[in-house]
């Protein structure tokens, strides 16, 4: 989907024509709010549990949860709702999820299990979590007022 957008954008640039595409301006129908937390183990009364804390003193290997909350602020249906999240270069995806991924910098997307990486000798190998550069959630439609969140788990490289 993103690559289609990019192609469309390129065409727009070349032709300077008004393909139906616009930057949400005055009052976007949908609002995105990003958040990041770090997982910490807390020991209480002899049991260890995991809590989420603000990302302070984050060191390599720490597990992070990146959350994006979305809200359809309008009283109308939102369609073809797609959230794309480029992974920060310093983190590595920790687990697959209900999303598509890109392992080529956002050019192509697909389910993680189906992705492969081209090796220097031309052969393909199955993609690893560390290869993932982008994550994309496709939600098809948001009812009026609908809100929700998507998230992914990553660790500092």
């Amino acid at each position: 989907m993103l690559n289609r957008i990019l192609v469309v954008l390129s065409l727009v640039l070349v032709t300077q024509l008004a393909v139906p595409m616009a930057r949400a301006q005055d009052k976007p129908a949908v609002v995105l709010a990003g958040d990041v937390m770090v997982e910490r183990s807390v020991e209480e009364n002899g049991t260890t549990r995991t809590v989420l804390e603000a990302p302070t003193n984050v060191i390599p290997g720490d597990r992070l949860v990146f959350t994006t909350r979305y809200t359809n602020t309008l009283a109308e249906l939102v369609e073809d709702f797609v959230i794309t999240n480029p992974l920060p270069a310093a983190v590595v995806l920790l687990q697959d999820g209900d999303f598509d991924v890109s392992v080529d910098g956002g050019k192509t997307f697909g389910r993680f299990a189906t992705m492969s990486v081209k090796l220097e000798d031309g052969a393909d190998r199955p993609a690893e979590l560390a290869d993932v550069t982008h994550i994309r959630w496709t939600l098809a439609r948001l009812a009026p007022g609908e809100q929700g969140q998507v998230r992914y788990f990553a660790a500092i490289r």
Partner: protein, 324 residues
């Protein structure tokens, strides 16, 4: 349209940066102070043109992880006769540049003997071998130069053996490296003390580590046994004038290692005369003259120079005198 152009360049920038960074596999992890930013974007439509929105950008900086690993680089216990040089590696396994406080402790529990630490030295020319006068000396307990993440220092510990040790006794020397920023239980926080002002956090090592190097006392001991066999002119063994006395000096080197500058000397007994040309070493004849062979002999005495002799060997010197 301007938006679209900006969007494309921003995406390309992210792509290049992520690919470049992904190829740098850092054992110690992303460098301290690295800014991590995450922004999601979404596209959708509400019947009209497709809309694109961005989330807010969340960002934070990676803290400095203080970690270190120390390992002995000696394959086995080093033999020590009087002095020895132990070799250790000190690796910065954290993610920020860090100096380390280096302390060698020669009094390790279980030691048969404790050496004296004369000095530490840093392998300035990185050849893995201590080069006196080249490698920079560091006082025991001193602080190293800054070590980059994932880089290792080779540290030498120069020691002297005490007197009175017995061959084969063992000893260990422990080298401790502590992060210059501080040490503590894993997770200990040093607010603002990290690279570029980020917080520093003690890693799994507790920001310190130690390694032990082993020494084994290598002492060689020489024992010398002298014996005599008399052959009188009548076929007997009586010490009568004219009898030939064959002296044997047997030098046995025991222990381990070797002895240096071993020389066997003896005087010709009074009332006897050296029988010229009878000096031998290990059954091979030696000339009496001071020349290229190892022996000399004269009317006053004999001398055989053995030089460096390995432990576990025996050398025997013989010469004959005639009773006056």
């Amino acid at each position: 349209m301007k938006y679209a152009a900006i969007r494309i360049s921003a995406l390309c920038g992210t792509t290049i940066a992520s690919l470049a960074l992904a190829s740098q596999a850092l054992a110690a992890g992303i460098p301290a102070g690295t800014l991590i930013e995450n922004t999601a974007s979404a596209s959708y439509n509400t019947g009209g043109p497709t809309q694109v929105i961005d989330s807010n950008t969340v960002s934070f900086r990676v803290a400095e992880l203080l970690d270190v690993a120390v390992a002995s680089q000696d394959a086995s216990a080093l033999p020590i006769t009087s002095t020895a040089v132990l070799t250790f590696s000190v690796t910065n396994t954290g993610n920020g540049p860090e100096p380390f406080v280096l302390t060698a402790d020669p009094a390790v529990s279980g030691n048969d003997f404790d050496v004296t630490v004369d000095s530490l030295a840093i392998d300035s020319n990185n050849n893995g071998v201590y080069d006196p006068g080249v490698d920079a000396l560091l006082a025991n307990g001193g602080t190293s130069a800054i070590v980059a993440p994932d880089q290792a220092l080779t540290v030498f510990v120069l020691v002297t053996a005490p007197g009175g040790t017995a061959d084969g006794q063992s000893s260990q020397v422990r080298l401790l490296a502590e992060a210059g920023t501080g040490t503590g239980a894993p997770g200990t926080l040093f607010a603002g003390a990290g690279e570029g002002g980020v917080d520093a956090v003690a890693g799994s090592s507790g920001a310190d580590d130690d390694g032990v190097g082993a020494l084994i006392s290598s002492l060689a001991t020489v024992s010398l046994v002298k014996s005599a066999v008399i052959a009188d002119p009548f076929g007997g063994t009586q010490p009568v004038p004219g009898a030939i006395v064959t002296f044997t000096l047997q030098a046995t080197v025991t222990g381990s290692g070797s002895v240096d500058d071993l020389q066997i000397t003896d005087t010709i007994p009074t009332s006897t005369s050296y029988a010229p040309g009878t000096l031998t070493l290990n059954s091979a004849g030696l000339t009496d003259a001071a020349d290229t062979d190892s022996g000399t002999a004269s009317a006053s005495g004999i001398a055989v120079t053995l030089g460096s002799v390995a432990a576990g060997t025996t050398h025997s010197v013989t010469f004959q005198v005639e009773i006056d």
